[in-house]
Every structure is written in C-alpha cells, then in structure tokens.
C-alpha cells in the first residue's frame, strides 16, 4: 500500500454486527470507512464522497443493494468505482438477475468486480480490497 491519503471505502450493510466488523477491519488496515444502513443513504454518501471502493450487501430492508448497484452503474460519475457485493445470496442468483435485466436494456449492466459470500473471511476480503482499490 502506498503512503498517500487513505483510500475511502463505502460500506452499505443493514446488519449492525457486520457493519462493526467491516468498519473495524477497514480502520485497522489503513482505509477510511464510510457506513450506510441502506441503499438510499448509501447513494447519498457515494455522491458526496466519491469513494475508492464500495462494499454492498444485496438484501436490505428499504432500498436493497441490487437497486443501488444498478443506480451506481447508471451514474456517469460513479460507474467506474469498483463494487464488491457482499451477501448471503448466492452469486448465481445475483448474476441471473443481472442477465434478466440486461436482456431488456440497451446498455447492459456489468457484473460486479467481486462477489463475496457472507460471512466474509477477513484475509480474503482484504486481498480483494487491495486488488481493487
């Protein structure tokens, strides 16, 4: 890791335990975490701070991660930010959703940069973060 300013990582996750865990993981490994409880708040923070990476839970009450993912990819200022999906939903299910979505739109939505199934292994999550941001 370089010694420039810490990378900002936006965590969008509804479960408190998971938020605390990931926030600590980020803080203690030289990242600057931002946390949001749902997709709506997540979008607000993403627009405000332009994070270096976004960690996104799929199933959340209120606005879920699938919707937020679509909105991120449709936003020209944010669509280049790497997104890591973090979820108990199997990656096949999520990717099927993307394929269904892509059959009817002109601009297909890309698959996320990485998909990590819950519960995440700290070392694995850090490796993915290092690779992408």
């Amino acid at each position: 890791m370089t010694h420039s300013a810490p990378k900002t990582v936006l965590v969008v996750e509804d479960a408190l335990d998971m938020r605390i865990f990931i926030k600590t993981l980020l803080e203690t490994n030289g990242y600057r975490p931002l946390v949001a409880k749902d997709g709506r708040h997540g979008m607000v923070l993403a627009r405000q701070h332009r994070p270096d990476l976004i960690l996104l839970d799929v199933m959340m009450p209120e606005e879920g991660g699938a919707n937020m993912y679509r909105r991120l990819k449709a936003d020209p200022k944010l669509n280049a930010v790497p997104v890591v999906m973090l979820s108990a939903v199997a990656p096949q299910t999520f990717n099927h959703y993307l394929r269904m979505l892509n059959t009817r739109t002109k601009d297909p939505v890309a698959e996320p940069d990485a998909y990590i199934e819950k519960p995440p292994d700290p070392a694995h999550l850090l490796r993915v973060l290092k690779r992408l941001a």
Binding site: D17, I20, F21, I22, T24, A66, P119
Partner: protein, 396 residues
C-alpha cells in the same frame, strides 16, 4: 422433449384487468389453456381445485402479495412452475422470488420474446420432471422392495432441508463470532477500549444465540419418538404453571389457570405435551411482555377441558400483541421467528410435530393488537402402546 401445449394449463394472476386480457390472448394464441385470477385468494382456490402446470404471478398486488402467493402455490402444488411479473424497480423482490423457487421473472412492460424464454424454461423443467417421474414409477413397479428405500430417501431429503436451514442459522452465528473475535483482537492489539467493548458484545450476543439454538435442537431431537404413558392430562399443565408462575409474577402478568378435574387419564407423552405447553405459555408471556398493555391487566390463561367425547384440549390464550395473517401462515415453519435474534424458529414447529405424532391438532386464532389463542386437541388413547422389541428404548 417438448410438452404438449394443448394440455398445458396456465394460471394468470394479476390485479390489472388490462394485463390479464392482453397476456391471456398472447398465451392462448400460443396454444396454452389459460385461466385468470385477479387476486391471490382466487388464484389459490384455482390451484387447490386443479393445479396448473404454470402460473404467471404479478409480484405486486393488493391483498395477498405475489411472493406470499408464490410460496403458497409451491406449498400446495410443488410441481407448478411459477413465473413472476415484476415492475421496473422490484429487483429485490425478483431475487427474493427466485429464492422461493420461482423459475423466472419477467419485467413490465412485458416483452413477448422474454415471455417466450421464460415459458420455455418452465416447459423444459416440467418435461424433465415428467421423465423423471416416469422413470421412478417404473422402478417402483419393478422392484417393490425398493419402495422402502425410496421412503427412506424422502425422509433423508426432509432431514436435508432441515439441515440446510440449520446450516444457514449456524453460518450467520459463525459469521458474527468471526467478526466479533476480529474486533476484539484489534482492541487488544491496539489497546482500543471501543473495539474491545463492541467486539465483546458481538461475541456474547452470538454465543447466546448458539446456546439457544443448541438447546432447541436438543429438545427437538427428543421429540423423535413419543413415550406414551397413562397420565392425567392436567399433570403437564400443572408442571408448566409451576415453572412459569415466578416469571409471570415478576413481569406483572396474571396467570389464569383453570384445569378441569373431571378429565380422565389416558395414554400420551407427558414430557412431550409438557414441552408443547411450556413453549406456548412462554410465547404468550413474551407476547404480553412485548405489548404495551392498553387497559391495564395483561393475562395469560391456561385451561384444560373436554371439547368432545374422547378428546382433551388445552387452551393457551394471551391478550398481548397478537399476530397478523402473514405471521400466522408461517407459524409452524422451521426456522421462522418473529423475535429477531432472540428466537430460533424451532419452538412451534417442534410443538406441532409432537401434536401430529399424537394424531392431535393445534389451532390458532389471533388478532393483531388483541391477543392470541392456541388450542391443542389430543385424542384420548385408551390402549397402552404395543410392546416393541426395541432394546434401544431402555425401559426402566
């Protein structure tokens, strides 16, 4: 292999008349036999009478919503393939529906090509299943002895389902523990009391969860076989009252006990029924504890009575928060809980299993905000159980 369209029945469920009409014509044009319903309740009546091969269900409807209807259809007729119609912004619902075994979903406005793809998927699945069934049927005819093994396989599948649900619960807890341990570790490394405090709370919370889960599982395992004994039906009720009286008093809840002493002993599993009543009374106390009592007195009552010849009943009633219909529908499912991380979702499923084994029944009536009323009915068994040559039973 293709499925003969002339015999393929499609049930179309949408509250919008226009969509029913347009889609109905499009499907009839393709040679399907189409019936339509304007709401979940009507659709279920159709499914009960004559299950269709394919159901196309709008995900958002007033009254029973699409996901609930999907689950009900799958419960009533697991072979019916369900295609969901979703709106533009219903992605989470669409994913949710795939989790509940919808074969596919199509988005509004409906594109005919995509509809075609979804129908093809459903048809393929159906013909595959038919093939499989023919094959199985053939096997059964050929080798009658094998049927016992098939039953065993089914039982294993049921166990597999339970294990899958269980593994999900355990995975969550393990995730919480891993996370908590990590946060504690950082607290120690960096001498950071905030990490220590937060991490420790996560660890403790998840340890509590796993302790509750294992206790519930242990109790569930005990229900595998009934131990029928000649016993007075009031006995387990009395025991439960004794166990719960202190807690009720502590929480300021009145326990109203009326045990009919005209009842007669019969053969049942007193320990099993004890567990059922303990579970129901504990739930009732939870419900009263959670509700803010509207006009003072919060009461949990436990009655025994004889509703008919040869039947004994237990009634557990509370005037706590009550349940809505959706909750009542899912009440006896494995791992369903309304208590968040506090419940494990095993108690009522276990109770139902014990009652089923007695060939009894459990009924619930509940109104949101008014309270809940459970009635357990057991047939009075007069003969002792047949002596089984089973040395595992360890009779005293």
């Amino acid at each position: 292999m293709t499925t003969d369209l002339r015999t393929t029945r499609i049930l179309l469920v949408d509250d919008e008349k226009g969509i029913r009409k347009v889609l109905g014509i499009a499907l009839a044009d393709r040679g399907y036999r189409v019936s339509a319903a304007d709401c979940g309740e009507t659709a279920l009546a159709v499914v009960t009478q004559a299950p269709p091969a394919i159901a196309i269900v709008d995900i958002k409807m007033p009254g029973m919503d699409g996901i609930t209807l999907l689950k009900e259809i799958k419960r009533l007729s697991p072979d019916t393939e369900v295609i969901m119609i979703t709106g533009h912004g219903d992605m989470d619902l669409a994913i949710e529906s795939l989790k509940h075994e919808a074969i596919d979903f199509i988005t509004k406005p409906i594109n005919e090509d995509i509809l075609e793809v979804a129908l093809k998927r459903a048809a393929e699945r159906i013909s595959l299943r038919r093939q499989l069934r023919r094959y199985t049927h053939h096997l059964e005819e050929l080798v009658a002895v094998k049927s016992r093994q098939l039953i065993e396989a089914e039982r294993l599948a049921a166990i597999g389902q339970t294990v899958a649900g269980l593994s999900h619960s355990i995975k969550n807890i393990a995730g919480g523990l891993t996370g908590g341990a990590y946060v504690v570790e950082k607290g120690i490394e960096q001498d950071n009391p905030r990490y220590l405090h937060q991490g420790w709370r996560m660890v403790k919370g998840n340890v509590d969860k796993i302790a509750r889960l294992s206790l519930d599982l242990l109790n569930y395992a005990k229900t595998a076989r009934l131990r029928l004994q000649l016993c007075h039906p009031n006995q387990p009720a009395g025991e439960v009252v004794e166990l719960m009286a202190a807690r009720a008093e502590e929480e300021g809840i009145t326990l109203d006990i009326r045990l009919d002493d005209r009842l007669e002993p019969f053969y049942f599993d007193p320990e099993g029924i004890h567990r059922v009543l303990l579970n129901l009374v504990a739930n009732a106390l939870d419900a009263c504890g959670a509700a803010t009592a509207p006009n003072g007195a919060r009461t949990v009552s436990l009655h025994t009575f004889q509703p008919a010849d040869g039947v004994v009943a237990y009634r557990v009633k509370d005037n706590g928060g009550g349940m809505d219909q959706a909750t009542q529908d899912r009440l006896f499912q494995t791992f369903f809980t309304t208590k968040g991380s506090h419940g494990t979702g095993i108690g009522l499923m276990m109770s139902k299993s014990i009652i089923d084994k007695h060939k009894g029944r459990i009924d619930v009536t509940s109104r949101h905000g008014r309270g809940t009323d459970f009635v357990v009915r057991l047939p009075m068994r007069r003969e002792p159980p047949l002596e089984r040559s089973n040395h595992h039973q360890g009779e005293p």
